[in-house]
């Protein structure tokens, strides 16, 4: 198998047939995995922030939840995916810096805000989330295998888990 395609911050990558898409080290970012099992088309967006400050000047659509979701759908539709039947899994939105003085530490709730914004953006396009691994204190690496539709999540201290399989049963559907 070819080496995985890295989806950097604010990037969106789509693939058809084979390959692996991956976001390494999602902190408060969110990786949105989308899959059309009938066509074998997969997409992965690496969202940084909840919403665009100024919708007219967005340098990278994949940066924000509200612009990233429509762009992910557009790119997948371009490959021939049926965007009304996409299966979705979301991963990330952690609060990574967990040690500190309670109360005096900076308010770092961007992860939680990202989760909310991504869920809203997906609701807006009538897509349901089939599996999620979000929140908490751990950074995550997510990989989406295009051929099998398997979504795997890795963290520093725990073994890799299979979050879901878009083509088969959903073992850990949330």
């Amino acid at each position: 198998m070819s080496s995985p395609v890295l989806v950097g911050m604010a990037d969106i990558k789509v693939a058809k047939g084979t390959g692996t898409l991956t976001c390494v080290g999602l902190g408060s970012c969110i990786g949105i995995c989308a899959f059309d099992s009938s066509q074998g088309i997969a997409g992965l967006a690496h969202i940084m922030l909840p919403e665009a400050f100024d919708k007219n000047h967005v340098d990278k659509l994949g940066k924000f939840a509200d612009t990233g979701v429509p762009e992910l759908l557009r790119q997948m539709a371009e490959l021939g995916a049926n965007t009304r039947r996409l299966q979705i899994a979301i991963v990330g939105g952690a609060q990574v810096f967990k040690f500190g003085t309670p109360g005096t530490a900076p308010k770092m709730d961007i992860g939680a805000r990202n989760i909310e914004a991504v869920q809203k953006a997906l609701r807006d396009v009538n897509l349901q989330i089939q599996a999620k691994d979000v929140g908490g204190n751990l950074g995550r690496t997510v990989t989406l295998d295009v051929a099998t539709g398997t979504v795997k999540v890795r963290t520093v201290s725990k073994a890799e888990i299979v979050l879901c399989n878009f083509k088969g049963a959903m073992p850990l559907a949330a």
Binding site: M9, G25, D59, V96, F97, F99, A105, N137, L138
Partner: protein, 294 residues
């Protein structure tokens, strides 16, 4: 002393300066002038007499500013991406002198930090010559090569007259070495970290980040304070991404200063990242009497 801020003021062209990033370059070069003024002998290490260094590098600044953007399309074609590329090219163009200035600042800031660390641990530390790089915010998580290895990061937002973000990062092995020095024992895995362990490393990060900030603050005359630190043990890129996101909510620039701090028995290395705001850089600029910068 061949330079006073007013002379910079007179020469500074205002029309060619593109919005945003190039501030960094200018700040990086001008901010340490007082370093030279108060700590002249340091410059001898660069192998040049102090005055000559100053004259040369001011000349460099003016030259770079006068050249302006290479072409309009540099800035219009791809929005911020080109800005960043341009900044990187420009930074690279500045070459040894611009780099030396940032390094020198880091040298002093982190030198103080090393001394404090030595006092705290009772061990003798040495510091390598810092390397400084500017980079695009989105590239920040890849600073350690998209690493999934566990690192310890101590992050501190900067408050005061201007805001910003800074963090000190060290590998898990380095953290264990530090713990052994400080507490005579180290947790086996990230899950075993006790409150005591956490607070010891937070304190180290606090000292390193704080000394660096104090140094910049003193030299530039812009009052900056560190907010209480927070710590994480996680994938390097997850921590850097989190920092980049915090900074992306307003306009920030990224400078990474990488330095190694050694101990005779067990070597460990850490690196330091600072993300100043454009406004903050601007303010430092004005403090040198360069009003047109705003």
């Amino acid at each position: 002393m061949c330079l006073i801020p007013e002379s910079v003021h007179t020469f500074l062209p205002t029309n060619h300066r593109p919005e945003g990033e190039p501030f960094l370059v200018v700040w990086a070069i001008l901010a340490p002038l007082p370093v030279f003024r108060f700590r002249g002998p340091i410059w001898h290490r660069l192998g040049l007499p102090a005055c000559e260094v100053t004259g040369k590098f001011v000349e460099q600044v003016l030259l770079r500013l006068e050249q302006g953007p290479r072409s309009e399309s540099d800035f219009e074609s791809e929005g911020n991406g080109s800005h960043r590329r341009f900044m990187r090219e420009r930074y690279a163009e500045l070459g040894p002198i611009g780099q030396s200035v940032i390094k020198e600042m880091a040298n002093i800031g982190l030198g103080n930090a090393t001394t404090s660390l030595a006092e705290m641990t009772g061990h003798c530390f040495e510091m390598s010559v810092p390397e400084a790089t500017t980079l695009a915010m989105e590239d920040l998580p890849n600073l350690a090569g998209a690493s999934e290895d566990p690192f310890v990061g101590i992050y501190m937002p900067i408050s005061g007259e201007t805001t910003g973000h800074m963090g000190f990062f060290l590998s898990w092995d380095s953290a264990q070495a530090l713990w052994k020095m400080l507490l005579n024992a180290a947790p086996e895995t990230p899950d075993d970290i006790s409150e005591m362990d956490a607070s010891a490393l937070i304190e180290v990060g606090n000292i390193i980040n704080g000394s660096f900030l104090r140094a910049i603050s003193e030299f530039s005359g812009v009052n900056m304070m560190a907010s209480p630190p927070v710590m994480s043990v996680d994938m390097m890129s997850a921590m850097l991404a989190t920092m980049a996101i915090e900074a992306s909510q307003t306009h920030h620039l990224a400078i990474s200063i990488r330095t190694e701090i050694f101990d005779k028995s067990s070597s460990f290395s850490g690196f330091f990242v600072m993300l100043p705001t454009i406004e903050g850089v601007d303010m430092i600029f004005r403090n040198f009497g360069i009003a047109e910068a705003s």
